[in-house]
C-alpha cells in the first residue's frame, strides 16, 4: 500500500526534493575550484577539486585505489559481521531472558563506558599491527550500538501484543518471529545505522595508526610524500563509503518497515 503510494509520487517532485540536497555541495565545490584557480587557496593547504579528481583518476588507473578500497571494505565488513552478530545475539538473549540479562548486562554496561578507541595501545600490544587488531577494534565499536538497540527494541515490544499472541496459541517460535522481532526491528535499525557510522570511524583511526594497506594507510603514505591531493581524496572516499552504507541501511529499513506510519507517504 504505502509502497505503491510512494512510487506513485511524481518522479519530478522526488527528484526535486533529492536534488535540492545536492545544491549546496555543488556550490561549495564550484566556489572552491574558483578560489583555487584564482590563487586564493594555496595548493599545499587544499588542492583544487580538479586536482583531487586527477588524483582519483591516476590512482584508479594504477589499480591502487580499488585495491585499497577493497581492503578497507573487507576489514569493515568482517569487523561488522563479528561485532554485529555477537551484539545482536546478546541483545536478543538479554531481551528474552531475565537470567541472561541479570548475568551479563551490568558487565556490558560497564565496558560500554570505555571509549573503544582508548584501547588502541592495548590492542597494538596484543595483536601488533596485524589484521586482528583492526578487526577487534571495529567489532568492539560495532558491538555496543547493535547490542543496546536490540535489547531496547525487544524490551519496548508492546506486552499487550505478546499477550495477544499467547492467547491465540502462538508457540515461542511464532511469538518471536511474528510479534517480538518485528516489534523490535525499528530500534534494531537505529542501532544498525549508528553502528555503520562507528564502523567507518573506527577503521579510519585504526588504519591511520597502524596498517600496511587500506584507505587509511594510503592517506598516511600520501601525507609522508606530501601528496595532499591523495589525502583529500581518501577523506572524500571515506565520506562516500559512509554515505553509501547509510543509504543501504535506509533502503533496507524502508523495505522492511513499510508498515510503520513513519515510512508511509514519506
Amino acid at each position: 500500500m504505502s509502497f505503491s503510494t510512494r512510487l506513485a509520487t511524481p518522479l519530478a517532485t522526488r527528484l526535486g526534493r533529492n536534488g535540492i540536497g545536492w545544491l549546496l555541495p555543488v556550490l561549495v565545490i564550484a566556489g572552491w575550484e574558483i578560489a583555487s584557480r584564482a590563487g586564493l587557496m594555496p595548493p599545499n593547504v587544499l588542492p583544487a577539486p580538479s586536482a583531487v579528481a586527477e588524483a582519483f583518476w591516476r590512482l584508479t588507473l594504477s589499480g591502487e585505489l580499488i585495491r585499497n578500497i577493497g581492503v578497507s571494505t573487507a576489514r569493515a565488513l568482517a569487523g561488522f559481521a563479528v561485532g554485529g552478530s555477537i551484539g545482536f545475539a546478546l541483545g536478543l538473549a538479554n531481551g528474552l531472558s531475565t537470567l541472561s540479562r541479570g548475568l551479563t548486562d551490568t558487565t556490558l554496561q560497564m565496558i560500554r563506558n570505555i571509549p573503544h578507541l582508548a584501547l588502541i595501545p592495548l590492542v597494538i600490544l596484543w595483536f601488533g599491527i596485524d589484521e586482528e587488531a583492526k578487526l577487534f577494534l571495529v567489532a568492539l565499536g560495532v558491538f555496543f550500538p547493535i547490542y543496546v538497540n536490540t535489547l531496547l527494541g525487544i524490551q519496548s515490544v508492546d506486552p499487550q501484543l505478546v499477550e495477544m499472541g499467547r492467547v491465540y496459541g502462538m508457540d515461542r517460535r511464532a511469538l518471536f518471529f511474528r510479534v517480538i522481532l518485528p516489534g523490535a526491528l525499528p530500534a534494531i535499525f537505529v542501532g544498525l545505522r549508528y553502528a555503520l557510522g562507528i564502523m567507518w570511524l573506527t577503521l579510519i583511526v585504526a588504519e591511520t595508526i597502524s596498517a600496511s594497506s587500506g584507505l587509511g594507510y594510503m592517506a598516511m603514505q600520501a601525507r609522508e610524500f606530501l601528496l595532499i591531493d591523495v589525502v583529500v581524496l581518501s577523506i572524500l572516499i571515506y565520506a562516500l563509503l559512509g554515505k553509501l552504507a547509510d543509504s543501504l541501511a535506509r533502503l533496507l529499513e524502508r523495505l522492511s518497515l513499510g508498515w510503520h506510519p513513519a515510512f508511509q507517504n514519506a
Binding site: V167, M170, H260
Partner: protein
C-alpha cells in the same frame, strides 16, 4: 458521587443480594465457575463466584471499574488460574483452547496486513491458502473484505475493532470472551458494532461473555446480565426480550433501571 448514594452503595456492598437461583438448564453446559475465588496477595478480587452458562448463551457482565470483570474473563480464557474453586467446561477435552478473547484495544500487529492479522486467529488451526481463504470470508462478514491487504494503521478505531472481532471469530470458537471491546468507540460506531456482534452471534451460536460498563448495551445484546460487586455476583438477571430488540423500548428500559438500581442502591 454524592455522599448519600455512596452510603447506599456501601450498605448494598455490605449486604449483597443473594444471586437468583439457577434456572433449570436444558441446553448443555458451556462452562461453569464453581466457588471461584481470585486473590492477589491478600487482596480479594473475586470471591465464591458461581456461574453456570449453557452453550450459546449471551452473558453480559457488568460492574464498577476495578470490581474484577477482567479478572473473571482472564480466568475463563485460561490467562490466569483461580486461587480457589474450579472452572469446568462443557467439552472438557477442548477447554480453554476453544475460548477466544477480544480485548478492549484491537491489539492488531501493525506489521501485518489486515488479512494476516485475521489469520492469527487460525494459529494451529489452518495455514497457507486455506487460512487466507477463511480469513477473507470472515472479513467479508464484518464488512472489511476490500481492506484485506492494507496496514492496520490506516483503519479507523471501529474498523480496527472489527478486524479484531474477525480474528476472534475466524477459528469458530465455542466461547468468545469480550472485555469491553466497544468501550473506546464513539456512540454511533458502538451501536453499529453491537448490531454486527449480535448478527454474527445469531449466525454462529457461540457462547458469548461480554464485559461492559454500558448497561444499555448489556440489555440490548445479552440473554442474561450478571452484576458483579465486591467480588461476588450481586445480580443474575435474565433478559427475556425477543430479538430483534428495539433500543430504547420500555421493556429494555425497565430492565436497565433494575440493574442501575442494583448498582447504585
Amino acid at each position: 458521587m454524592p455522599a448519600a448514594s455512596l452510603a447506599a452503595v456501601r450498605s448494598f456492598v455490605a449486604a449483597p443480594q443473594q444471586p437468583q437461583p439457577e434456572q433449570t438448564i436444558e441446553r448443555p453446559r458451556a462452562f461453569a465457575f464453581q466457588g471461584v475465588g481470585k486473590f492477589f496477595g491478600d487482596k480479594v478480587v473475586l470471591d465464591g463466584i458461581d456461574l453456570d452458562v449453557p452453550v450459546g448463551q449471551f452473558v453480559a457482565v457488568i460492574g464498577k471499574s476495578g470490581c474484577g470483570k477482567s479478572t473473571l474473563l482472564r480466568l475463563l480464557a485460561g490467562l490466569d488460574r483461580p486461587t480457589a474453586g474450579s472452572l469446568t467446561f462443557g467439552s472438557e477435552e477442548e477447554g480453554h483452547s476453544r475460548t477466544r478473547f477480544m480485548f478492549q484495544e484491537p491489539r492488531l500487529l501493525p506489521w501485518a496486513s489486515v488479512v494476516k492479522n485475521v489469520e492469527v486467529g487460525l494459529t494451529g488451526i489452518a495455514s497457507g491458502a486455506d487460512a487466507r481463504q477463511r480469513a477473507l470470508a470472515i472479513l467479508g462478514e464484518v464488512g472489511l473484505a476490500d481492506r484485506a491487504d492494507e496496514w492496520p494503521s490506516v483503519l479507523s478505531g471501529g474498523q480496527k475493532q472489527r478486524v479484531a472481532l474477525a480474528r476472534a471469530l475466524v477459528g469458530h470458537p465455542q466461547i468468545l470472551a469480550l472485555d469491553e471491546p466497544l468501550g473506546a468507540l464513539d456512540a454511533l460506531t458502538r451501536i453499529e458494532m453491537q448490531q454486527l456482534l449480535e448478527r454474527i452471534w445469531l449466525a454462529q451460536k457461540f457462547t458469548a461473555v461480554l464485559v461492559t460498563h454500558d448497561v444499555a448495551e448489556a440489555v440490548a445484546l445479552a440473554d442474561r446480565v450478571v452484576v458483579i460487586s465486591a467480588g461476588k455476583i450481586a445480580l443474575d438477571l435474565d433478559v427475556p426480550v425477543a430479538r430483534p430488540r428495539r433500543r430504547g423500548s420500555v421493556e429494555l428500559a425497565r430492565l436497565e433501571g433494575k440493574i442501575l438500581d442494583r448498582l447504585f442502591g
